[in-house]
């Protein structure tokens, strides 16, 4: 039974069904969307559980499906998963279900909304399952288009700008990636897009400049998606303007395409180039880690803060990739780093997905993302605050939550090769801690929210010195107002006209307190956090699964990772 294909195309089928539902029946559309995404989730969990979980057992490609597609081009419809892709597939499916549940309230263009999210899911699952470069590219693009619409139609004030920026960046990246794919295709004899075949052929072995050029193309494609410094500047805008569901999928699943591409395609096809350029990749990763955290710390906008923290977190993925590609390291160290990178993708998807949900819940109530607009949320929304605190601590890498398990493996691998890099990366941990704690302090601690009529003047510059000193914190404001001085260099906006509010604002501005988290919101976010805790406490099985995939063909041998099974001893 082609279970991958079924899982993959169920969402698309549901999406097409939704298109046929009469306009006046949004309830039916929602049910179809929910059923479709749930079925897909069931399928993906089935796929995941169907993998070989035996410790030390084979971890190679499983659930293989291969049919001729465009034989003249050497492209086949080849789908297969292993311990790296299956968790990401399950993650994407889970996030889509959560988004569908959360989006029950959407009133504006319901049909297109759900259609696009389901199409997006198909694209994402396709990328993670594709074993053929052309197919990979196709799904890569399919996942790009719906996100453009989601940002551009359901986004915030500057949605057009953000959508175009998002599209152009990722488009440039995907074209560069396509060029590299073509190079791989043309240098493999006989010409083929089949990934395992290319890996086996190693077309660029011993070809320094060829490998470097291919690496450049792949790096552009994947590092933009990741995103890594300095290619990240589409991300904050896209996140801030995207609707909540869009942000969740964007951060939770779409960014993973970058890291996944590196590990699935980059490292095994051109290992030599990754080795040659390892130090550059590592330095870019370190800059992303520190820069992302540092810039996040000073953001006055909650959503932007989470967006920049994503750059920090995905920096650990890139660091893992860099160490994993560096052949000066021992196999064990590289394996630890790559393990960490994969787990970090899963963990970041869960934690940051949850964080974007939580940001969105708050926005639904007040229509403000400004940190300065909130104070003492713990008084009126204790459960919401508790969940946010949990997500914060997960994000800052508290042990017993999934983020730590991933990061510590990356650090472990890094330390074995470049101790200074590990030390620098840990600076990012400190900055992230400061960022989340300070946000927690400003938004959630403090007295009950009171309404103070005060124009929103406080940018970051005049409020930061309250960090350690009680009493000098900025005055509480609950009335959300766009502060004029925060408008970045916003190229003016407003094109796709749309009703003012796609969600009902529920702020009771007179009482000054916000309603507690609702059941639907809980259902969307709690599973993500539960998984975060579970992976944090008992990661053994998942690590084993990822480990098996990394050490078995087609990934293992060429990256030199298979040796560790026979080689015993410490990390040196």
């Amino acid at each position: 039974m082609p279970l991958i294909s079924i899982t993959l195309f169920i969402p698309l089928l549901a999406g097409v069904l939704i298109l046929g539902v009469p306009k006046e029946r949004p309830d039916i559309m929602k049910v179809i969307a929910l059923v479709g995404s749930l079925l897909s989730l069931v399928g993906s969990v089935w796929l995941l559980l169907g993998l070989n979980w035996q410790r030390g057992g084979g971890g190679g490609l499983q659930w293989q499906e291969q049919t001729d597609w465009i034989p003249s081009l050497g492209a086949s419809y080849h789908l297969a998963i292993d311990g790296i892709s299956a968790p990401l597939i399950a993650l994407s499916a889970l996030l889509t279900v959560a988004v569908v549940i959360y989006s029950w309230q959407v009133k504006y263009r319901v049909k297109e909304y759900f259609f696009l999210f389901l199409l997006l899911e198909t694209g994402l699952l396709g990328v993670f399952a594709a074993q053929d470069l052309l197919l990979f590219y196709l799904f890569f693009e399919v996942s790009l288009v719906p996100m453009y619409f989601i940002i551009g139609v359901w986004g915030g004030e500057r949605r057009t700008y953000a959508a175009i920026k998002f599209f152009l960046y990722t488009r440039v990246g995907s074209l560069a990636m396509l060029l590299s794919f073509l190079a791989l295709y043309l240098t493999t004899n006989p010409h083929t897009f089949d990934l395992p075949t290319i890996i086996k052929a190693q077309p660029f072995a011993g070809n320094y400049w060829g490998g470097t050029l291919v690496l450049l193309g792949l790096f552009l494609g994947f590092a933009i998606k990741l995103p890594a410094f300095p290619l990240h500047s589409w991300l904050p805008d896209a996140h801030v303007e995207a609707p909540t569901g869009g942000s969740v999928i964007l951060a939770g699943a779409l960014l993973k395409l970058g890291g996944y591409g590196f590990i699935r395609i980059g490292l095994p096809t051109i290992p030599q180039a990754f080795n040659d350029w390892a130090i550059v990749i590592i330095i870019i990763a370190l800059i992303s880690i520190i820069y992302g955290a540092g810039v996040a710390l000073v953001q006055p906008d909650f959503k932007k803060l989470v967006a920049f923290s994503s750059i920090n977190h995905m920096g650990y993925v890139l660091l893992g990739v860099g160490i994993g590609g560096s052949q000066t390291a021992s196999a064990a160290a590289r394996l630890a780093a790559l393990n960490g990178a994969v787990l970090q993708m899963v963990s970041h998807g869960l934690i940051t997905g949850a964080l974007f949900f939580l940001v969105g819940f708050l926005y639904d109530r007040t229509h403000s993302h400004l940190i300065a607009d909130y104070k003492g949320l713990w008084n009126s929304m204790p459960i919401y605050s508790g969940l946010t605190a949990l997500a914060f601590f997960g994000s800052l890498g508290l042990p017993a939550l999934s983020g730590f398990v991933a990061e510590f493996q990356v650090f472990l691998g890094t330390l074995a090769v470049y101790p200074w890099a590990a030390a620098l990366a840990l600076i990012g941990v400190i900055v992230t801690t400061a960022m989340f704690l300070w946000t927690l302090q400003r938004m959630f601690l403090g007295g009950p929210t009171t309404q103070v009529d005060m124009p929103s003047q406080a940018g970051f510059e005049d409020s930061w010195d309250g960090m350690f000193e009680p009493g000098s914190a900025p005055a509480p404001r609950i009335i959300p107002q766009r502060s004029p001085n925060l408008a970045d260099i916003a190229p003016p906006t407003l094109t796709l006209e749309r009703p003012q509010a796609d969600t009902t604002a529920q702020t009771d501005k007179n009482s000054g307190s916000l309603p507690e988290i609702k059941r639907r919101e809980l259902i969307a976010v709690v599973p993500l956090l539960i998984l975060t805790v579970l992976i944090g406490i008992i990661p053994g099985a998942l690590i084993g699964l990822i480990n098996a995939a990394l050490t078995t063909a087609p990934l293992g041998p060429l990256a030199g990772l298979v040796f560790i099974i026979v080689k015993a001893g410490g990390l040196h």
């Binding site: 046929g20 551009g152 710390l297 000073v298 400190i430 801690t433 009950p448 003016p492 809980l522």
Partner: protein, 695 residues
């Protein structure tokens, strides 16, 4: 005791408190329990769990004395061929600390029952206490460095939550943030050290790593670096210079929490880590020197600051920093037993002192600051509290409360043997210690305080005179801890052969502490120091009447502020770092983003050029094709009319080129144009997929 029983006792003592935290959290958070029912349930469950943990740890301590040792673990994860194991171990050091943690926690929990009676967030409070003690017990039982680190951060998290417990008070949030952030800076060092050890030995197991050190497998600069990084974590947790600033602020939490933080749970972790990893520290002369130096500096500075504090709880806070410093001095000189014994005794008497302060706070109303001026000799109203405080204060001052000498004597003893200069500095600290705690006692509980308060309150509120209440629920745990003081003190007394020393030494992987043959000499020295300190303070406040005229000199302010560290960190370091980050942010916004915008605009203008060409040249054909396709699509799918229209208008009725490029970007017609491209792209891709299959 059989192995499985031992292991289950260890696990029960860890998980019983943690379970309280998890279940209360779930009940309140997900099932919406609240109100009195939850309050009662949480308090009862937490106290039962604490009692169970105390029972388990006592049994385990007895078993350890009887010679039981255990190391049991399971495979947490396998990374490559590297097995990461989590394990618990039973040995004298762990068992002693665990018993201390469980005992103090139980006392504090019972005390809290009275102290927090009116608190509406009682359930949350007890849940957090459960997390706190469970994490600390996990820390001391842990046989694996990674598991220890996990528990270490758990302790930090719990202290963050508890310090920020009164989150609506302005001081709570910053204090909690500060505590977690500053300790986490140290934790980064600890994590690096742990990872580096794993790198060297391929194991997180504590014993394996210590063996690697003693066996010479790790040596040289690497060893020194690892030891220093490890100590960085310990110094952060134990509030040693330069990380000490978080501890005085941690007062923002409820007073019973301070009793826990300052005695057995939070700050004890740092000293415990040093004691646990002592062979590693001692293997590097540099690291041992640093430990001793930091300990001495912290001791001297903090005791001086304690002498100048205007509030009782602040005196106690600085006192903790100072005492922890002395423990580190002891450990740095190789005195495992000396340092550990003082850790245990400090835990008991500091918890007692804080519980006494808690009785005061509760009796006087928790709202105000704990300034001495408000007390004015409340002793006669609170006789039991006064008694408890007095005994604990004597123990702190180094006066032998029974036949046992002060718990610091063994440290002094070592110093006398090793390095007289250290001994002299320690004696100075001892004099100051006796002085500040005598001052605190006099001003709080005696008629000296009444006069002092009256003199200070000439323009302020009158000192307290209303009859005050002592509740048995609160004084009983206090007195129970006080009763333990002489009993435990005897165990470590060199006059009875110091059974504690041989007990701790039996589990340690290093030579016993240097011979302590100067026990009597050190006792004479320290006892004299204590008497000098107490006498000086007594005379200062009674005979010379100086206390009433103390001026707020700059020097005094500097000392009171804890030597300006806060000022330096806030005004200099934070300013610098945030300034740097603001610059980064400026770079992000004004440079990176602008470059990105330019690129976006360049691409868009390219698109416009193409469009111009298309409008003029390919217009008709493309229009026809587009319209046809879209009409088809509309009919078949009932695709929403507006999306299609927009796409059509994008391709078909495009831009009037009269306006400039930028204007076009603003009106968004480019967006429409791109819209059409995307629809086309999507259709083309899907068609390609289908055609590929068909063809």
């Amino acid at each position: 005791m059989s192995d499985w029983l031992t292991i289950s006792l260890i696990l029960i003592s860890i998980f019983a408190p943690l379970l309280v935290f998890v279940s209360v959290g779930l009940l309140a958070g997900l099932f919406g329990w609240q109100g009195v029912a939850l309050k009662r349930l949480a308090a009862r469950a937490a106290i039962s769990a604490a009692a169970i943990a105390a029972l388990c740890t006592s049994l385990l301590l007895i078993a350890t004395i009887a010679g039981t040792r255990i190391l049991a673990g399971y495979t947490w994860a396998v990374v490559g061929n590297q097995t990461i194991e989590f394990s618990v171990r039973l040995d004298p050091l762990g068992a002693t600390l665990a018993a201390l943690v469980a005992t103090v926690t139980l006392a504090v929990m019972v005390f809290s029952l009275g102290y927090m009676e009116e608190e509406k967030r009682q359930a949350r409070y007890f849940a957090y206490l459960g997390l706190f003690s469970g994490a600390m017990l996990l820390l001391v039982w842990s046989g694996s460095l990674l598991l220890l680190y996990l528990a270490w951060e758990g302790v930090g998290l719990a202290s963050f939550l508890l310090i920020g417990f009164y989150w609506e008070r302005p001081a709570a949030g910053p204090a909690a943030t500060k505590a977690f952030l500053i300790t986490r800076i140290g934790d980064v060092g600890l994590l690096l050290a742990i990872l580096a050890l794993f790198f060297q030995t391929g194991s997180f197991d504590i014993a394996t790593n210590l063996q690697a050190v003693t066996g010479g497998q790790i040596s040289g600069t690497g060893l020194t670096l690892i030891a220093l990084l490890l100590f960085m974590g310990a110094a952060g947790k134990s509030a040693q210079v330069p990380f000490q600033v978080w501890l005085p602020d941690a007062m923002a939490g409820p007073t019973p929490v301070s009793a826990l933080i300052h005695s057995a749970t939070m700050v004890a972790a740092g000293v415990y880590l040093v004691a646990r990893m002592l062979p590693l520290i001692l293997a590097s002369g540099v690291a041992a020197g640093v430990v001793i130096t930091i300990g001495l500096v912290s001791t001297l500075m903090a005791s001086a600051a304690a002498l100048a504090q205007p509030e009782l709880k602040q005196v106690l806070a600085y006192s903790t920093i100072s005492q922890l410093g002395e423990m580190l001095v002891g450990l740095g000189m190789g005195g495992l037993a000396a340092g550990t014994f003082h850790l245990v005794m400090q835990g008991l008497f500091k918890a007692s002192l804080f519980l006494a302060a808690g009785v005061l706070a509760h009796a006087l109303g928790t709202g105000g600051p704990f300034e001495f001026a408000r007390y004015g000799g409340v002793g006669k109203h609170l006789p039991r509290t006064r008694f408890g405080f007095a005994v604990a204060a004597l123990a702190l001052a180094g006066v032998p409360v029974t036949l046992a000498p002060g718990s610091r004597d063994s440290i002094l003893d070592l110093a006398l043997a090793e390095q007289p200069l250290i001994a002299v500095l320690l004696l100075v600290a001892d004099v100051v210690t006796a002085a500040y705690i005598a001052r605190a006692f006099l001003l709080t509980f005696t008629s000296v305080g009444t006069r002092f308060a009256a003199s200070l309150n000439r323009n302020g509120q009158p000192p307290v005179s209303a009859p005050l209440e002592e509740r048995p629920l609160m004084t009983t745990p206090l007195l129970a801890l006080v009763v333990l003081l002489p009993i435990v003190g005897l165990v470590g007394s060199p006059w009875f052969g110091a059974p504690f020393n041989s007990f701790i030494g039996s589990g340690a992987n290093l030579p016993l502490s240097p011979a302590e043959n100067n026990a009597f000499l050190s006792f004479i020295f320290s006892f004299s120091a204590a008497l000098i300190g107490i006498a000086t303070i007594y005379l200062y406040y009674t005979r010379f009447n100086l206390g009433q005229n103390a001026k707020q000199t700059l020097l005094r302010q500097w000392v009171v502020s804890g030597f300006g560290f806060n000022w330096f960190y806030n005004r200099v370091l934070v300013t610098m770092v945030v300034g740097l980050l603001l610059m980064l942010n400026w770079f992000e916004r004004k440079f990176l983003n602008r470059v990105a915008d330019l690129m976006v605009r360049a691409v868009l203008s390219g698109a416009h050029t193409f469009q111009l060409f298309e409008n003029k040249g390919l217009d008709a054909g493309a229009d026809q094709l587009t319209n046809l396709t879209l009409r088809l699509a509309r009919r078949q799918n009932q695709f929403d009319a507006q999306v299609i229209d927009r796409a059509v208008s994008g391709v078909g009725y495009e831009i009037k080129l009269s306006s400039g490029l930028l204007a076009r970007l603003q009106t968004g017609q480019v967006g429409n144009y791109l819209f059409a491209i995307f629809v086309w792209g999507l259709v083309a891709l899907l068609v390609g997929l289908v055609l590929g299959f068909l063809g």
